[in-house]
């Protein structure tokens, strides 16, 4: 009765739990099914048709992201029929806008006047800003699809650059809806949605206003979710190529949630921040401060040398002199007025290790318990 239910994928049997989609069973078992519109943890839309698979007995190919696995279902993920269909889906997506990567012959003659003008405005006549870091390009490469089969759809909407953080390039939007899912189902900021209808469809914010005049709070979840070059961080556009950056995982230094971050470093400078997918506690999500508020690290206003007050003015000095002075003064004050005449304010900003050292310093060196930090403030 309670016999384990099994789905057959590419000739092998796999158990599944009720409600699990074909895609989920496949991913769990390291069977690759390409996806584009699928955003983990959100309702499948089945919009892009890239993840289609062949299911025995089904008249049409089925979107694996939206089809639940069933007992004795026989699934093929890379059959000739699947591959043909997938190529067509990719070709259509490539023709839907300015996808001028190597996958598409990018001669100027292919471009409409409007697109060329849009490109000129943004110095992007040459290549897409996410060249080499684009899921659509990856698919075109994998399935060896060129974009010349269909004429390019004319772009109807100009680029939006009037906010400090995110460039919205509608000419490169494939309307996969991942940004809409990210905004509404993951962050639940409900700032953007599908607007207009049919060929005029556009991702809009609060009745088609610029992001800065909408409910958008610039968490950037949409940028991280965008599989193509439609949503890009303003500061990285045409400045940062992802393979030239080193990614370092760390913990955010703003609020107490402790989001896991990836700092993208180029030439010893943080150029971009993303959330670590699949890692607690934030599972890839960030807020505006965590994602965009990193410029302080490389600020020219950072202190680089110790300062000592001389004749009423703070003046640059060497470490030796500064440390000697601090040690001597603290020692003298302790000698003259006792340990409890000295206080230490440690910090909610520094590490556990550094707080431990501050606690040890106050208690074992100064011999006072006058140590506190700004938890109360």
């Amino acid at each position: 009765m309670d016999k384990q239910q099994l789905v057959v994928i590419n000739g092998n049997e796999y158990p599944f739990s009720p409600g699990e989609t074909i895609l989920e069973v496949a991913r769990r078992n390291s069977i690759e099914i390409p996806t584009l519109c699928h955003l983990k943890g959100t309702t499948p839309t089945g919009a892009c048709r890239v993840c289609v698979v062949e299911v025995e007995g089904a008249r049409t190919l089925l979107a694996s992201c939206a089809t639940p696995a069933a007992n004795n279902m026989i699934v093929k993920t890379e059959s000739p029929r699947v591959v043909t269909s997938r190529k067509l889906a990719i070709e259509l997506l490539l023709s839907s806008g300015n996808h001028n990567c190597a996958a598409r012959a990018s001669e100027g003659k292919d471009w409409t006047e409007f697109q060329l003008n849009v490109g000129k405005d943004d110095d992007s006549e040459e290549l897409c800003p996410v060249w080499g870091n684009c899921e659509l390009q990856n698919l075109a490469y994998k399935y060896q699809v060129k974009g010349e089969k269909f004429p390019i759809t004319e772009t109807k909407y100009p680029m939006e650059t009037v906010n400090p953080f995110i460039v919205r390039d509608f000419s490169r939007c494939i309307l996969c809806g991942r940004c809409v899912q990210a905004c509404n189902e993951v962050q639940v900021n409900n700032a953007i949605s599908f607007g207009n209808r049919g060929a005029a469809t556009k991702i809009v914010a609060s009745g088609d206003r610029p992001l800065k005049d909408s409910d958008c709070v610039f968490c950037g979840e949409c940028v991280q979710a965008c599989p193509v070059g439609a949503l890009v961080e303003k500061d990285t556009r045409y400045r940062v190529r992802h393979w030239e950056t080193e990614k370092v995982r760390t913990t955010c230094s703003y609020c107490g949630v402790g989001c896991q971050l990836e700092l993208h470093v180029q030439d010893d400078k943080i150029v971009k921040v993303t959330g670590v997918e699949d890692a607690k506690p934030n599972y890839g999500s960030l807020c505006v401060k965590g994602r965009f508020g990193f410029n302080f690290v490389s600020s020219p206003e950072r202190l680089t040398k110790p300062l000592i007050r001389k004749n009423g003015e703070l003046q640059e000095s060497e470490w030796e002199e500064a440390l000697d002075l601090v040690a001597k003064n603290l020692k003298d004050i302790k000698m003259e007025h006792g340990a409890d005449s000295i206080g230490v304010l440690t910090s909610a900003r520094i590490t556990n290790e550094e707080n431990y050292i501050a606690n040890k310093f106050a208690r074992a060196v100064i011999k006072t318990n006058n140590i506190d930090h700004c938890a109360r403030l």
């Binding site: 609020c255 107490g256 206080g343």
Partner: protein
């Protein structure tokens, strides 16, 4: 945190962030969650939108998260004890409480019950301004939950009755048996990345690491042995809010300030400045020349989070790695190295090869961190307490029993805020943060985009009050209290309620803390940032 420690024996978030998504009912109070803990707020919003959780928001401002709430209650500033008591009154009257939990796991229920007698919905309405029916509805909703989660933040603690407020929330959670279960708990949301860690690591005047009391003989012995010293000071030290008055009186001669900016964050700034200027010697260790550093005798340049190795402990007690991504500017050094070099120069050798060596030492003397190693948290952090290297960590506290055995109910009566409005200062002021900035702005104000989104100070006021005081949106005004004044622009907002205004405290040039009251909670020493009386006038 003192409030939770008194109730349960441990003063930290009882449950995890992910756990909030398991709750049937979430009660948020004194937390502007979407602006101050944006990513955590997504867990709440998803629970409400996708999982059918019920949300109750109790806050003097009609903040964004209130828009997701099934019930929004608007209490008068500083009336928290009263509305919580009001809820409990209804829950007991209607017999909705968890009798088994109260009987088996708590003490002092009956004396609390007596105090609650007078908090009828009608009386509660008189004190809090919340309509009686809303009190009844919210009580039924929270008590009806199988798993009810309470989230709170500085809107609860930054009052002269802050500790009472927290104890009251603990009372409410125990009354409904919402402790030691997934999706339940009393959860203080920590506002700074490592405020939990600073507390855990003995950055408090009364405890060593892991909350071991400084006046406990065993703890003293243990630390003396570990540190190779004798005669550790047994006297509980000064809280930050006590240090400044002592500096003023000349008893405190020197301050060594690491990564703090009390010249913007402290209450009653004009007084704070006077206190600090009386110090004989002040050292500030920071990444920028902050308002506080400008007053120092010596300033020591340190590294920021992206330039160092180590760990932070987040609000859910999860110890997570911090890793070096870039080199520090110029000669900036690790904070621990600077402190060690000063200690060594003072005659006590402090030398470590790296942050991991320090972590291993602190884990040895801190039972709750005893089982955590860098190796174990390479991929994913662990929740303390984690006493041994084979212990999986503790996501949910108080399962089966409290560290102090049974949980304490506290009988608490409502006490009004220290300062009340009057003819001269007719408006209440409350303070807080905005989403685009962080604390004193030292970090966020270096990003142009954040400044563009939130360029400066403002006075958030209701449409009603704007009309009453004959002002207009965007007008420059002077807001003053008994302690100081500031100039800023009016911002009419639906978040504001008639009779009270809000000013963010980030901006040094129009520092809200020139107005705030330094009156302290007698137990926690937390100032009453959230309530003071002000007046508003047109800027000439």
């Amino acid at each position: 945190m003192a409030g939770l420690a008194a109730a349960f024996g441990s003063g930290a978030m009882t449950n995890t962030i992910a756990d909030i998504g398991e709750a049937d009912v979430i009660l948020i109070t004194g937390s502007n969650t979407t602006e101050n803990h944006p990513v955590l707020s997504t867990v709440v919003k998803r629970a409400v939108k996708n999982k059918g959780a019920k949300l109750i928001v109790v806050d003097p401002r009609k903040i964004k998260i209130a828009g997701f709430a099934h019930q929004y209650l608007r209490p008068n500033l500083g009336s928290d004890v009263a509305w919580i008591n009001g809820l409990m009154h209804v829950i007991i009257k209607e017999d909705l409480y968890d009798k088994a939990f109260v009987e088996e796991r708590t003490v002092d229920f009956s004396s609390m019950k007596e105090i609650l007698e007078k908090y009828t919905p009608k009386y509660t309405e008189e004190v809090t301004g919340i309509p009686a029916q809303q009190i009844i509805d919210a009580a039924r909703m929270y008590a009806g939950a199988e798993r009810g989660s309470i989230l709170y933040c500085m809107g609860i603690t930054q009052h002269t009755t802050g500790t009472d407020n927290v104890k009251s929330l603990a009372n409410l959670a125990m009354l409904c048996g919402n402790l030691g279960i997934r999706g339940g708990g009393v959860n203080p949301l920590r506002g700074q990345n490592n405020v939990q860690g600073a507390c855990d690591m003995g950055g408090l005047p009364n405890v060593f690491t892991g909350y071991q009391p400084v006046n406990n003989e065993d703890a003293i012995k243990k630390m003396e042995t570990a540190w190779g010293v004798t005669d550790l000071n047994k006297k509980v030290g000064l809280k930050v809010t006590e240090m400044l008055p002592k500096a003023h009186d000349g008893e405190l001669k020197a301050l060594y300030i690491i990564g703090e900016n009390p010249m913007v964050s402290d209450p009653d700034l004009n007084h704070a400045e006077d206190c600090l200027s009386r110090l004989e010697f002040m050292v500030v260790q920071d990444i920028f020349l902050t308002e506080t550093a400008k007053m120092a005798d010596v300033v020591l340049p340190s590294r920021c989070f992206a330039e160092k190795e180590g760990t932070f402990s987040n609000t859910e007690r999860r110890v997570q790695r911090v890793r070096k991504a870039v080199n520090p500017p110029g000669g900036a050094k690790d904070d621990w190295k600077i402190t060690c070099e000063i200690g060594t120069r003072m005659g006590y050798a402090m030398a470590y090869t790296d942050s991991e060596a320090i972590f291993n030492e602190l884990a040895k003397v801190t039972p709750s961190y005893g089982g955590i190693t860098y190796d174990r948290i390479e991929e994913e952090g662990l929740h303390w307490p984690c006493p041994t290297t084979d212990h999986p960590g503790t996501p949910v506290l108080h399962i089966g029993k409290f560290p102090i055995g049974r949980g304490n109910f506290h009988s608490i009566d409502y006490i009004p805020p220290a300062e009340q409005v009057d003819d001269e200062y007719p408006l209440y002021l409350t303070t807080g943060r905005v989403i685009y900035h962080y604390h004193t702005g030292t970090m966020t104000m270096k990003t142009d985009g954040l400044n563009e989104q939130a360029p400066g100070c403002f006075v958030e006021i209701s449409a009603g009050d704007v009309a009453k005081y004959n002002l207009y949106d965007g007008e420059a005004v002077i807001v003053s209290s008994r302690r100081g004044l500031l100039k800023a622009e009016i911002k009419v907002s639906s978040k504001a309620v008639d009779g009270s205004i809000f000013i963010p405290f980030h901006f040094a040039r129009a520092a809200a803390n020139k107005l705030t009251n330094a009156a302290l909670d007698p137990v926690s020493g937390i100032p009453e940032y959230k309530v003071c009386a002000v007046k508003i006038e047109k800027a000439a």
